[in-house]
Symmetry: C2
Subunit: 207 residues, 2 copies
């Protein structure tokens, strides 16, 4: 079973690399992190690192994917624990912002550089948005069934809700030169997001 | 009274120039319009045009200001005609999108060029946003007094409402290469904006 053991070793190595990169990117951003530093953190030669990831951008993409799946599993855990669709939506928007902040701080890019790196992760983002919409649609559907919400077009309203949340994030980001979310920006966007969610949820209610 | 007549002639001339530029910019965008073309439209020498406006950017700024004050007066007319704050908000969001479309199509810029021209009109935009917020706050206040709305923080909720509307516009624009709002994009953003406004208004209601 050598080949299977080799396979396991390989995927463990890849996970270690991604975790090390996740820490480095989170602390210093993608631009200020070198492949050399990541390989040093792992006591690995630079050549070995390049064997697994052809460049820093591919490694960045892998970290983004990891953070996305972490977000989705935290969310699924909450979905299993929480029965009330209103509470669930509130939990969703908060968790979503934690993830947003972490994602932004991973890149810590100037706005111009972000538009360069974005195409690289666009397929990852598209997949993520699909997942996210499914989750929101399920919460809406559940709320309709429980006669808590009265939503006519579940699909459209889920897109609208996500667009509005994204809009709040994007308008904030557009004011920034460096894509780094400090505590002040985070508190501000959190406050706005929660106010919005409360009004929106009230607007969806059955009565 | 020679000096007063001269003054009048000057401001009439300036208005003529701004109107001609408004038409040209609206049809072809700022980049594809030359000062030569605007002066030809007016049977004016290029030199005379430059006497009134030192460059195309200053003329663009004047056109933006004109469109803004047109928007504000249309809005004030509606405010005088319509008593119901709910109807008024609906009218506001629709009129705001008409103005947005017209403003975007005036510049018809690539997204990169817009970030260059934006600083030029930033003071105009700040003044406009202040006006806009005042108008929304007044509608909210009126709704509270009429026991149609129950809004705790008028100031914050007005900012939030405007941020959310802006967010819908910005997320749409961010997908575009050229800042030109065709019928399809317009219909799409109008639909989203109206759905959002209906839910948001319901969320503000007194009950």
């Amino acid at each position: 079973m050598v080949s299977s053991q080799e396979g396991l070793g390989r995927s463990e190595k890849i996970n270690d690399i991604i975790s090390a990169a996740q820490i480095r990117f989170g602390l210093y951003g993608i631009e200020k992190t070198s492949m050399q530093e990541i390989s040093s953190d792992l006591n690995m030669s630079k050549g070995s690192l390049y064997y697994y990831f052809p460049d820093k951008e591919h490694l960045y993409k892998a970290v983004v994917e990891k953070e996305q799946s972490e977000f989705i599993s935290i969310l699924n855990e909450k979905i299993n624990q929480i029965d009330d669709p209103v509470l669930l939506l509130e939990e969703y928007v908060k968790t979503r912002l934690v993830y947003f902040r972490s994602l932004m701080n991973l890149s810590r890019l100037r706005l111009e550089s972000y538009s360069e790196i974005r195409p690289l992760i666009s397929d990852v983002l598209i997949k993520f948005r699909k997942n996210e919409k499914e989750i929101i649609m399920n919460i809406f559907r559940d709320g309709n069934e429980k006669k808590i919400f009265k939503i006519e077009d579940i699909d459209e309203t889920a897109s609208l809700f996500l667009d509005l949340l994204r809009g709040l994030r994007v308008t904030m980001i557009n004011k920034m030169k460096l894509l780094y979310i400090g505590q002040e920006e985070y508190d501000m966007i959190m406050k706005k997001t929660i106010s919005f969610t409360n009004i929106f949820i009230k607007g969806l209610k059955y009565r």
